[in-house]
């Protein structure tokens, strides 16, 4: 035990490890908040789709030669999120097909661009680290951390302030509209918040594993709890705990950060599922 603590102490004396921990926990917290909404609106895969869009946008930014890739990534992802959630209602291409189309399309174009124009010697390595986020969280600078804290505070504030509205719009959009709640505005808000979370989370787990961060805590919580409030709180707590355990394990064992966190999330889901079926009897 003492060895482990000494090792952790040593690692935490480096600022980049501390940054990684702060950013990781914040991202885990934010991404879990809207998970319930997305799962229930049948948009589980939007995280995946949007992160591929972000990947594509980043490829463009790299090819153009921008040093601050966020300038392109954030607006492109936000616009894609708005378009995707809008299609949920009345369009010729339905939600899941639209997500799949944009997701795969952006991934392919992004990879193609990087391959054609990148001057880096290690293309495969670059692409891999963007997709799986293996190292980028350990290369964060202080300003990245502040940006992350800023966006997280914004996301959490928006969520708390509009908590009841988000509940109502998710549970029954038609009723909300009929009684005078402007559901379109809140759908737009949800889309923007999701896009911001995904851009943030790309640093942590990379674009392939973001869906896991968004979906697993919510699904785990839905196995056990019966009210929206309890589900939201539990999924936030669970997500932060899983991220903490995942980051610590990855530091000690030298495993890739993103994949480790997601593995811990999967374990938590299985435990929640078993707990739920023991406590709640036979509930799906």
């Amino acid at each position: 035990m003492a060895e482990i603590f000494e090792k952790l102490q040593l690692y935490f004396s480096y600022p980049f490890v501390r940054y990684a921990l702060i950013v990781g926990l914040l991202i885990a917290l934010c991404s879990s908040l809207l998970g319930v909404t997305l799962v229930l609106k049948r948009f589980s895969f939007i995280g995946d789709g949007l992160s591929h869009v972000a990947f594509g946008a980043m490829a463009v930014a790299v090819v153009v030669g921008l040093t601050n890739t966020m300038i392109i990534i954030v607006p492109v992802t936000v616009i894609a999120a708005i378009l995707l959630l809008r299609t949920g209602q009345n369009t010729k291409i339905k939600g899941d097909a639209a997500v799949a189309m944009i997701s795969v399309g952006a991934l392919a174009v992004g990879y193609l661009l990087i391959n054609l124009f990148s001057k880096s010697a290690n293309i495969a390595g670059d692409v891999c680290s963007t997709l799986f986020g293996s190292t980028s969280i350990l290369t964060l600078k202080e300003q990245d951390v502040w940006l992350c804290i800023g966006i997280s505070v914004l996301v959490i504030a928006v969520f708390i302030f509009f908590y009841h509205k988000i509940f109502s719009v998710t549970f029954d959009e038609n009723f909300a509209k009929a009684t005078g709640t402007n559901a379109n505005v809140y759908n737009l808000l949800i889309a923007v918040v999701i896009a911001l979370i995904i851009v943030l989370a790309m640093n942590l787990v990379g674009s392939l594993l973001i869906s896991a961060l968004v979906i697993f805590p919510a699904l785990s919580a839905m196995r056990i709890f019966k009210s929206y409030f309890a589900v939201t709180v539990y999924s936030a707590v669970l997500s932060v705990c899983c991220a903490l355990i995942g980051i610590l394990v990855s530091i000690l064992a030298g495993t890739p950060v993103g994949a480790t966190i997601v593995s811990v999330d999967i374990a938590a889901f299985i435990i929640s599922g078993i707990t739920g079926s023991i406590c709640g009897g036979a509930r799906r």
């Binding site: 009841h164 009684t179 929206y228």
Partner: protein
């Protein structure tokens, strides 16, 4: 009786194709209007127009007696999303008060009390902490009815409320709605169930393919030719 809704020459449809043309009817305070018609006759479209979710192609919907388009309590058909939504009964009933909140992020004391008293009125206060998805169909409809009553005390618009309920639960729900109506709440109900419609309602609006076949008192509807034919055809279907 003051008139709450007046529809004049109302034509409804999608992308310029009319599904229902020239609807003319009025709803007065305390009425119990049943909207009948086959599938595809534009009943759902009419509901959306009344709720202000979908603009009409032509004609007018006028509101009287201090009613506005967004002051209708609405009981929608259940959606797939709701079947596995983790929400307690109390949370759902309270969400009916949302329009009263405006930009305020949380419910105030009055709104919480309104939710509690409405649950008592409908006999679901014992279920307040239960999970919505674990309730029976009849109980779920009561929860949604309570939510609608939190939104308004003037008009309730019910979209095929008894669909999927067992006969006992159907009767209970009809009785409950009749009770609300006798307390002065205007009821507008879309229904397939013609027997119950003529028994409980005060007025009937029958929409046929593309046009209005009948609007008037339920007692007149039973005597009318449209009514007779429709009732008979339903009975034959029921027997077969």
């Amino acid at each position: 009786m003051p008139e709450q809704i007046i529809c004049k020459n109302l034509t409804l449809g999608y992308e310029g194709n009319a599904v229902a043309e020239n609807l003319n009817f009025t709803v007065s305070s305390g009425d119990y209007l049943c909207i009948l018609g086959e599938n595809g006759s534009g009943k759902s479209t009419l509901i959306k127009a009344l709720l202000g979710l979908k603009p009409q192609i032509s004609g007018n919907i006028e509101w009287g007696d201090g009613c506005k388009a967004n002051e209708i309590g609405y009981l929608p058909q259940q959606t797939v999303v709701q079947k596995d939504f983790p929400a307690s009964v109390r949370e759902i009933v309270r969400s009916g008060c949302l329009a009263k909140c405006g930009l305020r992020p949380f419910y105030n004391k009055e709104e919480k009390e309104l939710a509690e008293s409405t649950m008592q009125q409908l006999g679901i206060d014992g279920l307040a902490r239960r999970c919505y998805r674990e309730l029976s169909g009849g109980q779920q409809q009561r929860v949604l009815l309570a939510r609608a009553l939190c939104a308004t005390r003037k008009i309730l618009l019910l979209d095929e409320p008894v669909t999927g309920l067992d006969p006992k639960a159907q009767t209970d729900l009809y009785e409950l709605i009749a009770k609300l109506n006798s307390n002065g709440i205007t009821i507008i109900m879309v229904s397939h169930d013609i027997a119950a419609a003529v028994r409980y309602s005060s007025h009937v609006l029958h929409i046929g393919s593309k046009k209005q076949l009948f609007f008037g008192k339920s007692s007149d509807y039973i005597k009318s030719r449209v009514g007779q034919t429709f009732i008979k055809s339903e009975e034959v279907e029921g027997d077969g």
